[in-house]
Amino acid sequence: MSELNISNPADGDLVHTHNLVKVYEAKGRLAVTAVDGIEMRVASGEFTAIAGPSGSGKTTLLNLIGGLDQPTSGWVTVAGQDLSALNRNNLAAFRLHHLGFIFQAFNLIPVLTAEENAEFTLLLQGIPGKERRNRVVKELESLGIGSDLIKRRPHELSGGQQQRVAIARALVSRPKLVLADEPTANLDSRTGANLLTKMRDMNAHTGITFLFSTHDPMVIERARRLITLRDGKIVGDNVQE
């Protein structure tokens, strides 16, 4: 990671977007502006939800912050790194070492067991075997995935169990920022509430920053800060108690 210019910004912002625009253009169709000039700062350690109706640009904004998509104009810095300055390889390395992702559809790798899925990031980071194994088992256990489940493949787990494994995969490497796109959408409310509590605990204990895109009231209630989007623009930004 020596080639990446990672620093702690002087202003303490972990994420900073400036005049961020994303326009989707398709042949023969009208261009759609999914994100329209968003100016946003997220400080380290926040537990923030980005809410808004469908098509308001939540997922697109999260993808731009995670370096999964390129903005049409404007820029994003994460931990002081301008993501547009990175090529595909360096961007992948940046995501590997600094970001964690949780998706609505769990997105586990089907040929790997729960344990292997959870340790995937650590394996790519080259963490030695014993340390890796200890961290993964501890993480999975803290999320309620015991030894009876860790050798199972994703299709042998329930939705809630799969999402726990996905959360373990995102958190086990202790990234600076976790981007969670509708993490509770495919879960029943009890499982969703349980996992949100775990994530909030993790945020409190480790200082990992969580940024959710959601329209789930349960997530919105638990977020300390709520950013509301409409038509690709921020229409509300409130700190909640």
Partner: protein, 409 residues
């Protein structure tokens, strides 16, 4: 990297039928290549071995120009010093030959032939003929009477049996007709019927008497090497040892450039066979792996989002291809090995084409032979072609836009 290897291996078995189709295609291709190579190499190996064993040896020492014009007047004094200097060289065996074209006649028939005078003791270490006796005996080490060994095909043509008499007649070195009667000591049969008809063997001292050569002379000295690899070095050493301007040291490659050319061309034909076979198989691989990446586009997107770099995605797909390739080539090679083992014991009988094959100096029964250089060259070509076939799908996979890949349905 190890986790990507694990994923690559497990991915193969997600669609077993497709993987086995690919493995089978590669196995059949490898089987055809190795089997074809064993046949072609075996064919030419036998021709070359025949040219070496039955004719002048790996290296031939003769009067200058003898190869192009082997007249009875072309002989040389094979001195004791020359023989001793050859004896002193490691890794070679050598024997004198006195050769003359002549006529062989029995009571029933006559036939043109090449009369070859040999040193029986040395010849037994150098030629296949002494081991190819099927009736009677080879020439004795010390000649006590006029004995001759001839091929089965010639014996049938002349209608003679072991113990019966024939007459050899030549135009001797003084251009006089010289004839001597011989008793048939033995009848041989080599893998080449053409050779069996065209050659008869008598003792070298009796051959000298027949053609009028002085004692200690020879038409040529045949040199056999322990290893074919030493061919050029040994020829050079012999040229140094025998610096006479009247003598010429020639390797079998120099004597038979057509054979060398044909052998090289067949080596090229093997490569062309591999290219044709595996280009066709390569298109199957391109098609299958393109399907694979579109089936797994979402997973590839997830992995890329998680920090897997594009070169790692390419490597993972390549590893899938390599696993399939290794399985296919292993199965194909194992089957081809079985074929070659069976074929080695029974040979491939091409006797219906014997006449045509004889014109090449080839035997009518071909035994497989694998030249390791050709084999390795072929395998390298297979790996190269499969590598090229995987290039497009793997590059395609590594260039997906992550967001598009993850939302692909």
């Amino acid at each position: 990297m190890s986790i990507l290897l694990i994923i690559a291996w497990r991915n193969i078995w997600r669609n077993r039928r497709r993987s086995w189709v690919l493995v089978s295609a590669l196995a059949v291709g490898t089987f055809c290549f190795v089997g074809g190579l064993a046949y072609v190499d075996g064919f030419f190996h036998q021709i070359i071995r025949g040219a070496i064993q039955l004719q002048g040896g790996h290296i031939q020492i003769a009067s200058r120009g003898y190869d192009n014009n082997p007249t009875i007047a072309s002989y040389f004094d094979y001195t004791k010093e020359a023989r001793n200097s050859l004896d002193a060289m490691d890794g070679i065996s050598h024997a004198v030959r006195v050769q003359a074209p002549g006529m062989i006649s029995s009571a029933a028939q006559s036939s043109g032939t090449l009369i070859v005078g040999v040193e029986p003791t040395l010849e037994k270490q150098m030629s296949d003929v002494p081991q190819s006796i099927i009736d009677g005996i080879y020439l004795p080490d010390i000649a006590t009477s006029n004995l001759i060994v001839l091929g089965q095909a010639l014996a049938e043509r002349l209608d003679v049996l072991v113990g019966e008499r024939i007459v050899l007649m030549v135009n001797d070195v003084n251009n006089e007709i010289s004839a001597t009667a011989y008793r048939v000591a033995g009848i041989f049969r080599t893998s080449s019927r053409a050779y069996d008809i065209a050659h008869v063997f008598i003792d070298a001292s009796q051959a000298r008497d027949l053609v009028g050569y002085p004692n200690g002379t020879a038409s040529l000295v045949s040199v056999q090497l322990a290893s074919q690899r030493d061919l050029d070095a040994s020829a050079e050493a012999l040229r140094t040892q025998l610096p006479s301007p009247d003598l010429e040291v020639r390797t079998w490659k120099e004597r038979s450039p057509v054979l060398v050319l044909m052998s090289d061309m067949m080596g090229m034909a093997n490569i062309i066979l591999v290219i044709v076979l595996f280009t066709a198989i390569g298109f199957t691989l391109i098609n299958s792996f393109t399907m694979v990446i579109f089936e797994r586009i979402r997973e590839i997107g997830i992995m890329a989002a998680g920090g897997v770099r594009p070169p790692q995605i390419r490597t993972m797909l390549y590893m899938e291809g390599v696993f399939i390739l290794m399985l296919g080539t292993a199965i194909g090679s194992a089957l081809a090995t079985g074929l070659i083992a069976w074929w080695s014991s029974v040979g491939l009988d091409l006797s219906r084409f014997a006449e045509g094959l004889a014109s090449f100096g080839a035997a009518s029964v071909v035994y497989p032979y694998v030249d390791w250089v050709h084999l390795l060259g072929g395998y390298l070509m297979i790996f190269l072609l499969v590598g090229l076939a995987l290039l497009y799908p793997s590059i395609k996979a590594s260039r997906f836009k992550i967001v598009d890949a993850m939302t692909h349905v």
